[in-house]
Amino acid sequence: MFEKVWDAHLVGDGLLFIDLHLVHEVTSPQAFEGLRLAGRRLRRPDRTLATADHNVPTGPGAPDELSQAQLEALSRNCEEFGVTLYPLGHRRQGIVHVIGPELGVTQPGMTIVCGDSHTSTHGAFGALAFGIGTSEVEHVLATQTLVQTRPQTMLIDYRGGLGVGCTAKDMILGTIAQIGTDGATGHVIEYAGEAVRGLSMEGRMTIANMSIEAGARAGMIAPDDTTFGYLEGRPGAPADYAAAVEGWRSLPSDEGAAFDRVVEVDVPALAPQVSWGTNPGQVAPITGAVPEPADESDERALAYMDLRPGTPMSEIAVDRVFLGSCTNARIEDLRAAAEIVRGRRVATTVQAMVVPGSVTIKAQAEHEGLDEVFRAAGFDWRGAGCSMCLGMNPDILAPGQRCASTSNRNFEGRQGRGGRTHLLSPAMAAAAAVTGRLTDVRELV
């Protein structure tokens, strides 16, 4: 599948055509400025789409001065260069990797880039999608192409079905724990197997999203009827939908296709997963304990996380719960968490918040009454954005605070200087919110 998409986009030797360029406020200002200084135009505004997500406030109050300046720069740049922008307050605003699929502009077989490493999310549709730096953003703005070397390919074969209470998040956390945060460096992953076929598009996006946490250049999932059903009727979907689907059916890898590496993951063996350290490969099952450090990196992580080896994961108390991010803030994620929260209360020691991935998802959740479920339990119900996943807005942890988070990175200081992050699924985050500690969600269903 990767080869088919790659070959279809080769303009010439080492030059790849980009079908969709997504833009946000944080990694684009210097790129637009570069265009301006060089007197270049934006080659293809019709293949460029912008939104504000990284630094927008999700609660009441205006953005801080610097964030405001960045948001204004994005508006100015989009106006000057003729780019469609969904700014703060727009009904289509949201996390860039949430709104692309939601609008149906993410489609099978496309090449998609964005100045954000979680662009891999769009690979869930059988697109080749990857994050780029600001110099490359400028290159795409100017030429609609990228200079690329062909990556290697890796098949991750999920064997067997998911157990009760386990989700796509547990599959990908378990996978990164197995292969390491640089296990897929230089590779494009194809995720395959029965458990992947059984996932909704939301679940597949969760998996593809975290490809970068295994070091992969991109992650792809073959499109099928689930994909086609999701995209049908969305604003960006092709007018002649049946014809488009016919074309997309030829994308999946051919029987017996060769990969440079193959990894098997034993899915039924996966319990709900939780990270204990400061990278997304430092993960343990909730039924397990904080491991003995294997090296200096583990020792440093344990010290930062203030954890002792041997402590049962389910005895770790949390102060905050964050339900959000491009990994897990879609409607299905909110439904799964609400299911656990319904009729229960957030523990008195915990401060919990829900940040929907987009304005559209927020409206859908409110239509379904999920906001009431969360509010009644004591959750804070917020506006759309990246929020506490990276803490560029006021949503940050205080030093020493411990957070159960549905996001994608548990790096030191990621959610606030001195903050301690435990990555887990939405249902597991909900369970932690109501018990006040990391909890096996299977005890609550």
């Binding site: 010439g12 610097l66 990278n279 440093r300 560029m392 200081g413 200087r417």
Partner: protein, 194 residues
């Protein structure tokens, strides 16, 4: 971009693996809309920790940074490469780099050099003893005098040696791009029409 040729001088040692770009430049400094001046934010939190290796006076002013494997993992922020360069590093040497970080470095003329684990170990253990990185020869002369070879994409090497602007190079291929757009580009989605 200034041409990159030979980088010779002291080595600073950061003997840690999986150094992520959140550590290299924390998010609170990504709100600037300028491209320069990120050096003062480099390793912002770590520089404020007691015992952080790069605080050692003998590492100050080193043009070469040696570090553990998977350097630059995580976020795609090019600000990380900008900060390392603005701080004064001209080359980073490690057993491996994340793909996006390595690519970002290549765009701005910060040399990301991948050497075998043992050779990086020598740099780390003997820092600040000097080393020499020679891009044209694709070699690193280690403190012991031993010479280690490194690989680099030939196109990237040519661009760095000459200090060429990548966009200007691609613009010379405009004919190819136009032909692709006319003959092979897929229909939609049109972001101006949704």
């Amino acid at each position: 971009m200034k041409p990159v040729t030979v980088i010779s001088g002291k080595v600073a040692a950061l003997d840690r693996v999986n150094v992520d770009t959140d550590q290299i430049v924390p998010k609170q400094f990504l709100k600037r809309i300028e491209r320069s001046g990120f050096g003062e934010f480099l390793f912002w939190d770590w520089f404020r920790e007691r015992g952080f290796p790069l605080n050692r006076i003998e590492f100050h002013g080193a043009p070469i940074l040696a570090a553990g494997r998977n350097f630059g993992s995580g976020s795609s922020r090019e600000h990380a490469a900008w900060a390392l360069q603005d701080y004064g590093y001209e080359a980073v040497v490690a057993p491996s780099f994340s793909d996006i970080f390595r690519s970002n470095c290549s765009k701005i003329g910060l040399l990301a050099v991948e050497l075998p684990e043992d050779d990086v170990r020598e740099l780390l253990d003997r820092a600040p003893e000097p080393a020499t990185v020679d891009l044209a020869a694709q070699t690193v002369t280690l403190p012991s005098g031993r010479v280690s070879h490194f690989d680099i994409d030939p196109a990237v090497k040519q661009r760095l040696l000459n200090g060429w602007d990548e966009i200007a190079l691609t613009e010379q291929r405009l004919g190819e791009i136009e032909r692709y757009e006319a003959e092979r580009e897929r229909d939609g989605p049109d972001t101006l029409a949704i």
